[in-house]
Subunit: 231 residues, 2 copies
């Protein structure tokens, strides 16, 4: 079973959703047969590489969210994150375009470290106040999960994997993704948002069962049985 997850490095619900999905998957009997792939999505591709201001300024100035509403939103998000063992620190967030971070994620994916990189970069952004566009930060995160430092620096400096990021974004559009996180199972089922663990688990069960219907072991017809209409 192939699960593709569109998400942005700068999307708080994506981090919360990652945890919830992981919990559901850990409890799924066929987890060994599930292949998870992270796909790029940019909430705001118009951002400069480095935005001159805080997350609060960015969201109020560019997105028109009132400071009071923002604080309420963050409080709710922090609580939800805390429930998943995450310690968000919105006041230290470094605002900027996530394109370079996504190229870095594709480098990691090519090396089979996609999930570890996703985890490291989201923690860096939401918990540690690190600049995930910065080549030194990415070199440090990448070497921490076994990537080659020279390759990271070369990738960040050039435009390697830019096409992969664009292709993911285009695919999201094709699939009708309008927000992230967005989970796609076997290019057949969509699960939108950071759903509760139970919902992810139910979705996994349903998708698996649809793909693997029970094989009848009885030669011809059913044996005598009882149903809602009688026996």
């Amino acid at each position: 079973m192939r699960i593709e997850i569109w998400s942005d490095v700068k999307c708080p619900w994506c981090f919360v959703g990652k945890r919830r999905f992981e919990k559901a998957l850990a409890d799924f009997p066929h987890r060994e047969d599930v292949e998870v792939t992270w796909k790029s999505y940019q909430l705001d591709p118009t951002l400069p590489e480095h935005y001159d201001g805080t997350e609060e300024q960015y969201l109020s100035e560019r997105k028109g969210i009132a400071p009071e509403q923002l604080r309420q939103m963050w409080q709710h998000l922090s609580q939800q994150a805390e429930g998943e063992g995450l310690a968000f620190d919105f006041d230290r967030i470094v605002v900027g375009n996530s394109f370079t971070a996504h190229r870095f994620l594709h480098l990691a994916k090519a090396a089979g470290r996609g999930d570890a990189a996703k985890e490291a970069i989201m923690s860096a952004h939401f918990e540690q106040g690190l600049d995930t566009s910065d080549v030194d930060v990415l070199a440090s995160l990448g070497t921490g999960i076994g990537l080659d430092e020279a390759e990271i620096r070369e990738t960040v400096a050039g435009d390697r994997f830019a096409d992969d990021v664009r292709r993911d974004t285009q695919e999201a559009r094709t699939l009708g993704v309008q927000g992230v996180p967005f989970f796609v199972v076997d290019r057949k089922y969509g699960i939108s948002g950071a759903q509760p663990v139970e919902v992810f688990r139910q979705a996994l069960d349903t998708a698996w069962q649809e793909a693997h219907p029970l094989v009848s072991l009885t030669p011809s017809a059913d044996g005598p049985a009882c149903g809602p209409e009688g026996c």
Copy 2:
């Protein structure tokens, strides 16, 4: 090998099917490696806790089964049950919702007494004319198989294991179960209804063989051999 059996306390074919399945399993060479789990299913979740009428009234009034047809059905069922050593007494059956009985079965399952409880409660319902929603009946059945009386009473009074009953029901829907008994092997094979012993035995063999294909002991290719098409 994991076998899950969806069934309702109030389903006569489920009791007959239990006996037939047990006979097939007793004769199965790998029976020590088979784990049987009883799962909850409700034929009629809309029934009140206690229905004011006999089984005959219930089936004719609510299910529209004509009395004559009902007598024929019961005669056939009684004969089949007798063939499995069961003495059904349809005239003494206590009609009511099986939800509490299913919660009791989950309590027993948690204590490792799922099968004994299933046996006791079906006998109580079909052979002894007992009310399997009644706390005193359940306390008596439960202590008879080694459960703690205080825990039974506490469970019946509250709503413990209600989620387990609902989860089983939801799983049945996901698997496409439309009647019971329904046997699922390794979440891969389905066997519907109270099949003859031979059919269960054949299904066990097939499922085992599928899960344990012969291992080739020859290092590379096959040796020279003859088949229907020649040598």
